[in-house]
């Protein structure tokens, strides 16, 4: 079974971003970039499926500028077999990325697509569901446990208030949540080996996909600052303040 994993290059989760003074966006120049954390979980899940003998090949895809090749090499070092970059300097919004991934899926015919539930830059939480819709495949979002057997996926997923278990026929799309697995680190020998793995570059034009943005960002501002830093000495003072000053209890 072939598994397709989509990964995104984002500002590292430890970086506190700054809004540009002209309000046009956030400053991403000279900022550490990494693979979106939920996508690391997606790669890890695919690698585990291969280690169990369920997946036979893992193809990892990213959409964006040439530097996304680094992100793809990371995925190759973690155990993906080959990579595809859909290279574009344009702003790629979730619907456009879903269409690009649909075109890749049409060429590759995977039985399973795994991707992160949400990218930590735009926090959109859309692309997986959109891709599933465009492919007319069943979806299991926010997965915390995946079992594949007999052409079916059984997925436990995080819902508000607990867990839900879905069974679906393959091909299917899964988006990852935190508890699905704990991603491994790439070892040095595997990082070296990853440099020799195939990485193909295509473009939206060759895939025949219109990626024009449908949403315009008019301005980006800092959120209102919260005035914190107040201190109390002990539990007694805290309760008194909450009762008499804040009046919330």
């Amino acid at each position: 079974m072939k598994v397709l994993v989509a990964v995104k290059r984002v500002v590292d989760f430890n970086v506190k971003v700054r809004v540009k003074p002209d309000g046009s966006g956030v400053d991403t120049a000279n900022v550490k970039m990494s693979m979106n954390p939920f996508d690391e979980i997606a790669v890890e899940e695919a690698v585990r499926l291969k280690e169990k003998g369920i997946a036979t090949e893992i193809v990892v895809v990213s959409c964006g500028i040439a530097a996304c090749q680094e992100t793809l090499r990371t995925a190759l070092a973690l155990g993906a077999d080959r990579a595809i970059l859909v290279e574009s300097g344009a702003e790629l919004q979730p619907l456009a990325v879903a269409k690009l991934l649909k075109a890749i899926a049409a060429k590759e015919s995977p039985q399973l697509v795994i991707m992160g539930k949400q990218a930590i830059d735009d926090d959109a939480n859309q692309t997986g569901q959109m891709l599933a819709a465009l492919l007319d495949w069943p979806q299991a979002t926010f997965a915390s446990k995946v079992d594949i057997a007999d052409g079916k996926a059984t997925v436990k997923r995080e819902i508000d208030g607990g867990l839900e278990t879905l069974a679906m026929s393959l091909p299917a799309l899964i988006t990852t949540d935190l508890r699905l697995n704990e991603p491994r680190y790439a070892t040095l020998p595997n990082i070296m080996k990853a440099k020799k793995k195939p990485l193909e570059v295509v473009t939206p034009e060759t895939l025949g996909v219109d990626v024009a943005p449908r949403i315009a960002t008019l301005k980006v501002v800092e959120p209102p600052k919260r005035k914190g830093g107040g201190k109390v000495a002990d539990a007694k003072e805290l309760v008194a303040k909450l009762r008499n000053e804040a009046k919330v209890i």
Partner: protein, 310 residues
């Protein structure tokens, strides 16, 4: 302009985020219809008809809506979409799962997690874990939007008297089966809408110690939440998680205990009215957003605090 709000409910009653989503629709302006898709969901449909400002309720009954899938909700929404300028869902697990599927089938972009309405096509949404607010304009003729509940005061649950109209859903494509749900049993208020939230972090050291929060939460009629670190460490289930990738809460009182205050956590709670932080590290970033910070050993402070609340 006519707006369709897709209600989240448990067949017996509406989930509170539905009311905030109707409030966002009111900000956009125009006639508001609410879709209730369920099984034996007559009571939920009646509740939707009573929301102030709702003109019509569309009630779709089918066994496969007992625990609705994104596939089922999307097929239904698309079949009804023609007359609507906007389709709104709450940005909850339910809405996040279904909305992008609807948007893609309609070939429109989705605006996720809006916290303010500037005009019928322009909205404000947080990005980068709430470290920036983007004002975005949708160029699509039809707009699919998810609404962050804490951004809008709930529409009044009573005062309306909308007509309830039955609509027939498309047949279930039957490729996804819901085998079951395991819901955390709790008498506590729902985390996303509780007036008081007591949250624990890695400072609690293990799942057993998390139980210390229960006595405190009981005194305050509070919901219990957790940081991602506490979920990652396996202290509590994921649905306790408050933060960028968990639940977004804005209670009157948020008490963060043993939580350092990573930006991912602050993203989920910094709009709370009053924030209390209890942490042994005086340099913890949580103190920068706390109205009342208490530096000390949480294992001593929690029992004292619980006793003080007597």
């Amino acid at each position: 302009m006519t707006i369709l709000v897709i209600a989240e409910h448990d067949n017996a009653a509406l989930k509170s985020a539905t009311l905030n989503t109707v409030a966002a629709a009111q900000k956009i302006g125009g006639e508001i219809h609410v879709l209730v898709a369920g099984h034996d969901a007559g009571n939920a449909a009646k509740a939707a008809a009573q929301i102030a400002g709702v003109a019509k309720v569309l009630h779709a009954e089918a066994p496969h809506f007992a625990a609705p899938t994104a596939e089922g909700i999307a097929a239904l929404a698309v079949s009804l979409a023609a007359p609507y300028s906007h389709i709104l869902l709450p940005a909850t697990g339910f809405g996040k799962n279904a909305a992008p599927r609807i948007a893609a089938l309609l070939d429109v972009a989705q605006v996720s997690d809006i916290i303010a309405v500037e005009s019928a096509d322009t909205f404000v949404r947080p990005i980068y874990a709430g470290n920036a607010f983007a004002t975005v304009q949708s160029k699509d003729a039809k707009k699919v939007i998810t609404v962050r509940a804490t951004g809008f005061d709930a529409a009044p649950a009573s005062g309306g008297s909308a007509a309830v109209e039955s609509v027939s859903p498309p047949a279930d494509a039957d490729r996804v089966q819901v085998l079951g749900q395991e819901l955390t049993k709790s008498d506590r208020p729902e985390l996303a809408s509780a007036r008081v939230v007591v949250s624990g972090g890695r400072g609690l050291q293990n799942g057993e110690n998390f139980k210390m929060l229960e006595a405190l939460a009981d005194k305050l009629h509070a919901a219990i939440g957790a940081s991602r670190a506490a979920v990652d460490a396996g202290f509590v289930p994921n649905d306790y998680q408050v933060g960028q990738t968990g639940k977004i809460v804005a209670p009157d009182l948020y008490i963060a205990i043993g939580i350092s205050g990573a930006i991912q956590h602050l993203a989920g709670m910094k709009d709370s009215k009053v924030i209390v932080a209890i942490n042994k590290d005086p340099e913890a970033p949580i103190f920068q957003v706390a109205d009342y910070g208490l530096v000390g050993d949480l294992f001593e402070i929690i029992p004292q605090l619980t006793a003080e609340l007597g």
